[in-house]
């Protein structure tokens, strides 16, 4: 009998069979029995002394928490996401059973509307529009009726021209993956998280809360771009720096194929799978990572701005120069009406482990984040704004902690109004404390054509992500434009040259 078993016995952690074995052994040995009883007595003491504090929440805290999830307001776990989608569509505060009862009524109403206003769009590929709560998960082949949603403004298959027929959920198409709808109304959820410094904090949204229209070929998993978040409500975007690298050969294979199969299109991953040569830390800079921000006019929307936040670790041996590296961008609501991160790495949604974790950066490594920003003087893009609730219901991000050795340095400060502030946190490998570097972004606006090659190349990759998800293009963005940017950003780098070859070999690889 192992000593650990004796402790497990004392703590009642054994299975019935194990317990019987241990007790038989104890019965045969008075000495072992005495030891066991001593261990058990001490365990009982620990239980009594450590486990009996009757401390509880204050009454106001308890009241607040119980009000957070009032009775009858939360749907079953399996349908909570669907209910959220329902609310986003403005269906109202109907309960799950109400929804089921009224489902066919709404379907019929939508079908009638579709017929009357003639907004039906015919597609060449027979597909079905399905909403799912978790956009990153393929739909189950065994969908229940209540898991299938039909949306207004839906896309109907050409093969089934009768809208009324199309509106019926079809169970015989298990290969379908997802569709999301750009109708975003308010969702009654708690306010976004307020941090100690008074700022409100938002997570960069996960696909489950992202509403955009994407037509997906069967068998693919395409992650939609994010909607805009209003800065007045959620000015802080926490960037998930964990990258899932995509190999060049994988990209080439997809570009060469006639279908977008086999690639999870995440522009953030695409962008950060390539090496960049950003400005490294200056010789007199104590920090191992240099962070910079560059702003240009968004090439697909002249009233918007495109911001690149670039991080570059210092050169040297193949060593970790910083760990627990985190990045967040705080937008100024007086300058920025709304923002979104391009090709965002979606957050996992399951709890503690879903929070963006700090990453390690080795010597010479870089990181790129692209944001599209709507200036304060411009109107919000229609149908592209995440509902308040959709944004604030994202997993709460862990705020960057400050430590005694926090470094608060502002660089590139100018007299001009600044769009945002970039906060980078890291720990040096030999340090026990985190340090924070803050960068006041310069509002210097040029065009992408005059920006550096790395900026053009990263934008091209973001564009590739879009075009793979929506081959028909996004406004003026086209494959030829992407090729131009790749060509300008090629810079003699072998990987980029290979990517350009792959793009040039297929003049219009994903045109419908």
């Amino acid at each position: 009998m192992k000593p650990e078993q004796l402790t497990a016995w004392a703590l009642n952690e054994l299975t019935a069979e194990e317990r019987a074995q241990v007790e038989a052994a104890l019965a045969a040995s008075p000495q072992a029995q005495e030891s066991a009883l001593e261990v058990k007595a001490f365990c009982d003491l620990l239980n009594e002394e450590l486990g009996q504090d009757e401390c509880s929440l204050r009454a106001d805290q308890s009241e607040h928490l119980r009000a957070l999830v009032p009775a009858q307001s939360v749907p079953a776990l399996s349908t909570i996401g669907s209910a959220r989608m329902r609310s986003l569509r403005g269906v109202g505060a109907a309960t799950g059973s109400d929804w089921k009862q009224g489902w066919w009524v709404r379907v019929a109403a939508m079908a009638a509307c579709a017929l009357m206003v003639g907004v039906v769009i015919y597609r060449a590929t027979p597909t079905k529009e399905v909403e799912v709560a978790e956009a990153s998960e393929p739909m189950s082949p065994t969908l229940d009726a209540e898991d299938v949603r039909v949306s207004a403004g839906m896309t109907l298959p050409k093969a089934t021209p009768s809208p009324s027929k199309t509106l019926e959920p079809k169970r015989e198409s298990p290969a379908l993956t997802q569709n999301v709808v750009p109708e975003a109304k308010s969702l009654p959820v708690p306010d976004p998280v307020e941090r100690a410094d008074g700022t409100m904090i938002a997570a960069v949204p996960s696909p489950s809360a992202v509403k955009t229209s994407v037509q997906i070929a069967p068998g693919n998993t395409v992650l939609p771009e994010t909607g805009f978040i209003e800065t007045s409500r959620l000015p802080v975007a926490v960037v998930n720096m964990a990258v899932n690298p995509i190999s060049l050969s994988e990209v080439q294979r997809v570009l060469a194929s006639s279908q977008l199969k086999g690639l999870r299109v995440r522009a953030a991953d695409l962008i950060n799978s390539f090496a960049y040569s950003y400005e490294p830390p200056h010789a007199d800079e104590a920090q191992p990572i240099h962070v910079s921000a560059t702003t240009v006019t968004a090439p697909w929307e002249s009233t918007h701005q495109l911001i690149r936040v670039a991080m570059q670790a210092r050169l040297g041996a193949d060593e970790v120069v910083a760990r627990d590296v985190r990045l967040e961008v705080v937008f100024d609501p007086t300058q920025v009406r709304a923002y979104r991160m391009l090709g965002v790495e979606p957050l996992a949604t399951a709890g503690a482990e879903s929070e963006p974790q700090g990453v390690e950066m080795k010597a010479g490594q870089s990181f790129t984040a692209l944001f599209e920003v709507v200036p304060a003087r411009e109107a919000l893009p229609k149908d592209q704004v995440l509902a308040d609730g959709a944004a604030s219901s994202q997993p709460q991000m862990r705020a960057l902690p400050r430590t005694p050795s926090t470094v608060g340095s502002e660089k590139n400060a100018s007299n001009e109004a600044s769009l945002m502030r970039v906060r980078m946190q890291f720990q040096k490998p030999d340090s026990a404390f985190a340090e924070v570097v803050e960068l006041l972004g310069t509002p210097k606006v040029g065009t992408l054509e005059t920006a550096d090659a790395d900026f053009q190349f990263a934008t091209a990759l973001a564009g590739m992500g879009w075009l793979m998800a929506a081959p028909e293009g996004r406004g003026p963005l086209s494959w030829s434009q992407v090729k131009q940017w790749v060509a300008r950003g090629e810079g003699g780098r072998a990987e980029r040259a290979d990517l350009l070859k792959a793009l040039e070999a297929i003049p219009s690889p994903k045109q419908p």
């Binding site: 000593p3 650990e4 004796l6 402790t7 497990a8 703590l11 952690e13 261990v39 001490f42 365990c43 003491l45 620990l46 239980n47 002394e49 450590l50 486990g51 504090d53 009757e54 401390c55 509880s56 929440l57 204050r58 805290q61 308890s62 607040h64 928490l65 119980r66 999830v69 009775a71 009858q72 307001s73 939360v74 749907p75 079953a76 776990l77 399996s78 909570i80 996401g81 959220r84 709560a133 708690p190 949604t349 399951a350 709890g351 503690a352 482990e353 879903s354 929070e355 219901s393 994202q394 997993p395 709460q396 862990r398 902690p401 400050r402 430590t403 005694p404 026990a432 404390f433 985190a434």
Partner: protein, 183 residues
């Protein structure tokens, strides 16, 4: 009819409020701070009801609690970093002066002894006795095998018991200070 999500949240509140506060209190040291940490944990649960795995709810709650407590300590500059190896070797050999500390309560002494355990043993003991988790739940929370949990708890208890017995034989030593208020 009460929904599953509502039930889950309120059952979690009823079942884990006190264990979480005990656990958080041991991490942050102040009851009000522990309450704030635990309130954050349940706020987070309310936001994750659609995704949290109810079979692993307890490990999830205590992992979130640990993260929140860690953040809290960092924010308030109360993190003391000391390698476990150092703790294993170092001993407190100077008694704290002051008559008021000579007769500490058993609970206080046990908690002080707890702080002297290596970090993993300490965490396993906390999750077992403060939080009341099973070996399996501790295994999920600490991301280690159930067998290793048994090992950690056994050796943790052994170390605590030996220290306790030695203090019983030498009551003056009960007033020794903790090595560090680690989490």
């Amino acid at each position: 009819m009460t929904s599953d999500g509502h039930q889950l949240f309120h059952e979690a509140l009823d079942r884990y409020e006190r264990p979480l506060i005990r656990y958080a209190l041991n991490l942050v040291g102040q009851l009000d701070d522990a309450r704030d940490v635990v309130q954050d944990v349940f706020v987070k649960l309310s936001q994750c009801l659609g995704t949290v795995d109810r079979e692993r709810l307890a490990p999830w709650l205590f992992t979130v609690c640990r993260n929140r407590a860690t953040d809290h300590l960092r924010k308030h500059h109360r993190v003391v970093v000391m390698e476990n190896e150092t703790l294993d070797l170092e001993e407190a050999d100077v008694a704290r002066p002051g008559a008021e500390l000579e007769h500490r309560e058993t609970r206080t002494v046990i908690r002080r002894l707890l702080t002297q355990l290596p970090a993993k043993q300490r965490e396993a003991i906390r999750l077992k006795f403060l939080a009341g988790l099973s070996y399996q739940e501790i295994s999920d929370s600490m991301k280690t095998s159930v067998g290793n949990v048994g090992y950690l708890i056994h050796h943790g208890i052994q170390a605590l018991r030996e220290q306790w017995l030695s203090l019983e034989n030498n009551p003056q030593a009960k007033s020794q200070p903790a090595l560090a208020n680690l989490f």
